[in-house]
């Protein structure tokens, strides 16, 4: 049984610039993979290759065992795509958009009508089905996009930055629908994101930075690599204090935007020692589990730019 998605040593350059540099990964049927990376990390290039819109310079990418550059149409039948920018015709109704998409996938007649009605109902769009898309809210439009992408019952659903441009409640609802869809159909999901929180919801995460895949695994596995806990210390003179802490307690400190970050196997024990020695210099201490952002920083040696937090929403 072939993997739902398999990518081997995939590269793509634009002139001298290597946008994607020897990326490899596999996704089994039914799994959900999040491709996490900052803007400009190579996510969009990878997405465009997987959805058959861009030819790789080297390596190969397969959907259900079908090479996306050779068996293009066969691969296209097996993928459903949700683009970051809307792909609906705003002058058509939701129903008309779905019907049109069905025709492009060779569906017609009563079986198409049944699927359109079924998809609109499942995504709770039945009462707005005959409104022009331009009158629908952003969240509703994204749901119509999803309904359209899965109309032909693809084996793999590929989404490019699905949360971008949605408000928090619309984003939550979109994720619920995605989970529900997965449970019902067993579809394999592959999505790109620059939101840490979104990657955390996936079974597997592949971290992409400057065209290279720097780490991959389940979120728990990746965070486990850091080992132990993450302590964040807020203080007034971080540089000075961090030096004193690393000398005094013999541990590695990192400065992150005016705070001190320490990774420790036994967080609470270290905090006790810390407060014993430096209580006067410390304003606040938080103890947390490592996040994918910590993983990113450890693997790349630099901060995760272009997001990381949902509130830093753009567009």
């Amino acid at each position: 049984m072939a993997d739902a998605v398999s990518v081997e040593s995939l590269s793509r350059n634009y002139g001298d610039r290597l946008a994607l540099d020897g990326v490899s990964f596999r996704v089994s049927a039914g799994e959900c993979l999040g491709i996490l990376g900052p803007n400009g990390g190579g996510k969009t290039t990878l997405f465009r290759i997987l959805v058959t819109l861009l030819t790789p310079s080297a390596g190969r990418a397969c959907i259900c065992g079908l090479d996306v550059t050779i068996e293009r149409h066969a691969a296209r039948r097996r993928i459903g795509v949700v683009f970051q920018s809307p792909s609906l015709d705003v002058h058509l109704t939701a129903r008309e958009n779905l019907r049109h998409a069905g025709h492009l996938y060779g569906l017609s007649g009563a079986s198409l009508e049944d699927r359109v009605v079924d998809n609109l109902q499942r995504l709770d769009l039945a009462d707005r089905a005959d409104d022009l898309v331009k009158t629908l809210s952003g969240g509703l439009r994204r749901r119509v996009e999803l309904a359209k992408a899965v109309l032909h019952q693809p084996a793999v659903l590929i989404l490019d930055e699905p949360s971008t441009g949605l408000d928090p409640s619309a984003r939550r609802q979109f994720w619920q629908e995605l989970q529900e869809l997965r449970r019902r159909t067993g579809v394999t999901i592959l999505l790109t994101t620059h939101f840490i929180e979104e990657a955390d919801r996936c079974d597997l995460v592949a971290i992409l930075d400057r065209g290279r895949m720097v780490a991959s695994g389940s979120p728990a596995e990746l965070k486990g690599r850091i080992g132990g806990d993450c302590i964040t210390i807020q203080c007034d003179h971080a540089a000075d204090l961090s030096e004193r802490i690393s000398r005094g307690l013999n541990c590695r400190c990192r400065l992150v935007e005016g705070d001190i970050r320490i990774e420790a196997l036994e967080g609470p024990v270290l905090i006790a020692r810390l407060m014993n020695a430096f209580a006067a210099d410390v304003r606040a201490v938080t103890l947390g589990r490592p996040t994918l952002e910590d993983v990113f920083m450890q693997e790349t040696g630099h901060r995760f730019e272009g997001g990381g937090a949902l509130k830093e929403e753009v567009g």
Partner: protein, 272 residues
């Protein structure tokens, strides 16, 4: 490892028809486009025609043809051109972000994508041309069923050619502003230097030369021949035979449509 492509006849027809239908629905839901495409050449034709009415005389002719009558096929050509521009402009937004990206990831042959668009634009252009044709009696042009049908055929050929051209330009454009700039630069001279609005006999040599290599000249000529099909027209109004006009117009249409299919296929490096 043969690609089970989407080229089966019924799939091609289904997607092509669906893309065509979308063009129709969009057009009918945007009233400003109907007004713009039909109104512009009408106003142009009436104003210019009325203004030049007195000073116009066909060289060597006995003066039996009014300017409104002479420029009538040109006004039809203008309708076809304006409609082609309006219909292909949506490609620019559609392609980079929007509707077309979803079409391009569907298992649809690239030929169907181009043909859906061109058939849609041609239907609209010919439909508006036919409406305008009803005004022929107002310019004292007798319109028979034969000439009406001949005009429909000629309009289909010319429309395919100019929408194909519009498609090729729009496909390469990043912005609608750029598209307008190129269209003004290319299409307006093509229209003006086609013998549509002034007979080029008696004009400067270099100008006649430009007119004779302009494919639109033959399109306008084809429309002129069609308009008088089954009847007679002033000899001096044309100097290209029906066969030549038809052959060059068909070749022009085949070239622009072929180029459009090639452009769409090349982007993703796949066969049409």
């Amino acid at each position: 490892m043969a690609d089970q492509s989407a080229l089966s006849g019924s799939g091609l027809w289904l997607s092509c028809r669906s893309l065509w239908k979308r063009e129709m629905v969009r057009f009918l839901r945007q009233r400003s486009r109907i007004i713009g495409a039909l109104g512009t050449p009408l106003v142009f034709w009436i104003l210019v025609g009325a203004g030049l009415q007195r000073s116009f005389q066909l060289p060597g002719a006995s003066g039996t043809m009014s300017y409104l009558e002479f420029s009538y096929p040109g006004a039809i050509a203008a309708i076809l051109l304006f409609t082609a521009v309006f219909s292909t402009i949506s490609l620019i937004e559609d392609r980079r972000e929007g509707f077309l990206q979803a079409v391009l990831v569907a298992p649809v042959s690239r030929t169907a994508i181009v043909m859906g668009k061109l058939l849609g634009a041609t239907t609209l252009a010919v439909g508006q041309g036919a409406l305008f044709l009803m005004l022929a009696p107002a310019a004292s042009i007798p319109l028979s069923w034969v000439s009406f049908l001949a005009m429909l055929g000629a309009m289909v050929v010319v429309s395919f050619a100019v929408t194909g051209l519009g498609f090729c330009v729009a496909w390469r454009m990043e912005s609608t502003q750029g598209f307008h700039a190129i269209m003004n630069l290319v299409l307006m001279p093509m229209l003006v230097l086609s013998g549509a609005f002034f007979p080029h006999k008696g004009s400067a040599t270099w100008l006649s030369w430009v007119v004779s290599v302009n494919p639109m000249t033959y399109g306008v000529s084809l429309l002129r021949h069609a308009l008088y099909a089954g009847g007679t027209m002033a000899e001096a109004a044309h100097d290209v035979s029906t066969t030549t006009a038809l052959a060059i117009s068909l070749a022009f249409a085949a070239a622009t449509v072929g180029l459009a299919v090639a452009s769409v296929s090349r982007r993703s490096g796949e066969p049409g």
